[in-house]
Symmetry: C2
Subunit: 460 residues, 2 copies
Amino acid sequence: MTTVAYFISLLGKDNVLEDPEALAIYGTDWTRRYPPNASLVLRPKTAQEVSKILAYCNEHKLSVVPSGGRTGLAGGAVALDGEIVVSVERMNQILEVNIQEMWICAQAGVPLAALQDAAKKAGLFYPMDLGSKGSCQLGGNLATNAGGLKFIRYGGMRNHVLGIEMVLADGRILDMNASLQKDNCGYDLKQLFIGSEGTLGIITQGKIRLMKKPQPYFVTLIAVDTFSHLLSVLALCRKSTHTLTAFEFFTDAAYQHVKTCFPHLGGVFSDPHPFYGLIEVEVASHTQGEHPLFRLIEEAFSCGILADAVFAENAEQFSRFWSMRENITESLARTGRVHKNDLTLPLGSLEAFMKSVSALPKGGIEVIYFGHLGDGNIHINYIGPANGDVEAFRRDVRVLEKKVFECIAHYRGSISAEHGIGCIKREDLHYSRSELEIEIMRKIKAVLDPTGILNPGKIF
Amino acid sequence: MTTVAYFISLLGKDNVLEDPEALAIYGTDWTRRYPPNASLVLRPKTAQEVSKILAYCNEHKLSVVPSGGRTGLAGGAVALDGEIVVSVERMNQILEVNIQEMWICAQAGVPLAALQDAAKKAGLFYPMDLGSKGSCQLGGNLATNAGGLKFIRYGGMRNHVLGIEMVLADGRILDMNASLQKDNCGYDLKQLFIGSEGTLGIITQGKIRLMKKPQPYFVTLIAVDTFSHLLSVLALCRKSTHTLTAFEFFTDAAYQHVKTCFPHLGGVFSDPHPFYGLIEVEVASHTQGEHPLFRLIEEAFSCGILADAVFAENAEQFSRFWSMRENITESLARTGRVHKNDLTLPLGSLEAFMKSVSALPKGGIEVIYFGHLGDGNIHINYIGPANGDVEAFRRDVRVLEKKVFECIAHYRGSISAEHGIGCIKREDLHYSRSELEIEIMRKIKAVLDPTGILNPGKIF
């Protein structure tokens, strides 16, 4: 029997795709940087089917790319070299929402938004949120250890996982899907698979901790004259009795791009200032008639660290302030010449890092910062000259990016805060990981995938 | 040069101990179940010294037992078979408390209490607490993934770690001691070492996240007539706007033992009830004059799930209520015939589990439960007949314990919630881990410690 015939006998004709359009769609992700080159797309429905697929591929030395919502930004789900794509999109069953034990158990292909909705219906809260929630899936969120919009409050995906079910490269099913809060029985193997970007196995199921519904959120937008003032305001927020749920920042340069694309988002402050911050808190109880952030802002003014501040007094202002921050990506994308890195640095090194970067020769490339300051997570965006050659921009930006990564290495930052390494940052892993770390990763990969069929060319 | 001469040349004479008393002290832990049998005790001061020790031991195939405060309860730090004990007690420097980035960095031998004090001095809070805080050390807390008294609020050790520094079996130093909140660059190797009980390397340094100082705590003690009522009260607490910091439970049988040993702790409730609960919350703000738990307790009464409740109205009552819970271990120990297991179960299976256990033949052994109900973590205590033979009790209790572990396996619970496996539960690991999981653990062990010198006979 041929490979295709075997898979058709296993999955049915509808779930073995060979047409060029399907190969193109399933062979790539949101990075769009690599021409897709998949040989086949398989769409199993159960862990048992995934098990049989991998057992066959392992025996026949056929490489596999695990595939979820394909919203990744690091090329982790790209089929570069004739691999078989195994899409878990049909594994889309929510298996249980347990209110008493506060968790949700679902197959890997359930979209994030569906998990959020199911938790909400049960009167609980799913602690992960991402812009791509309509498309991205549980398996991908786990395989990439997604961070997301609520990181400062809830932490990343790893913090929420009670259990996972995996299929190993040889097809064996590794069931680590218990639902225990405390469990110290040997090495915590599931930790190894969370964030392994499909190189150690295919995640087929996960059990995720749910939270109680959050209290109401309140937002204020601030303007400051120096970056260190921004850090001082953050320090004040950390001491507040309210729970900090976001501390975002953006530069005036970023805001100018937003105003160009979305003019209705201008005019919040009477004068421009070099840095802006968006502060969001979750408030259990507060004095009626006084904005819960009023005292904190008053204190910040009296310390001389604030230039200006505006409170969101209603839902319209709340969403308007958030739009100012959230539309940065779109505004920069519209320049048509943008490349970005997702970096983390120790909070105390951020300013020095930005100074080092500003001293680098940039040859016409504009550098724009914004990000989740509370996590030390900054997005650095490289904007090329509007009419310049795209290929030349790519070359120039790569030269600049490498120098930026050298700065990151110097301050012991991360070249990938949350997007992962995929194939895009493979060559750059050494900036954030030592030779010894990479050696151990490779040895663990060899233990779990000795034939090397799983997502080849990703991470290392 | 002999082995001893080499180590004296490396560490100085005072840090190479051979006298029988030192061998006995450093060769055992709090389990006291195994006769210590260490051949040598080494007390390095730096990671470089640990590196040289392990490189030598690896080359000469000498087994090593890493040693911290030796307060473990699973025999993880026992030298059973002539091993060399490497104590990190002289590695007791707090290296930095970073207020802006909210972390503390310390060598592995710093006692937990010293870390708590240093955080407090900086106006911050160290999120781990254990009864053994005066003796247990950072390295041991990390190597065993300690849970502790604040687990329901903050989670276990794993949740607090920003970075660690390790020495591998071959002496190479693995520096993963950055201080980033977000860092998705390949496999998160440090997760593998946290909870590995000294079998994969010796932890020499750690960087632990600090929290803001907690708000005031409030406590109430409740009495209920059925276990399911206890779970219903827990569900109410989970919905409260206050932050739950403890939900402990104990049976009337446990309380009777406490009253026998500590008569002044009796008389809280006018009548006895089958189950008691201790609820502690952290309260950001509340109406003066009303106990913050008043409304919750009122609601519980109106639902008919409470038999009685008493609020701690002052510091004396607060500590008295906690004493009732905390003195259970001591009260049971005084019977002279006690054996205990530290188990977790899914919350929804706890009652069925206890019913299964109550149906087991016990041959004169009394079974007493108490524990951290909020985490599904229960301590099951086996009390032997007061005048019975100790050896017979040990035999009988082992038979019973195995049947209890079979129940645990049935409900997919954990035979070790937080104490770890060590050498005590080695033979029982299969009750909570599959053959496949154990196979992968062994293979990872072989990658990182191919000679097998690190803590032999522990975990598997």
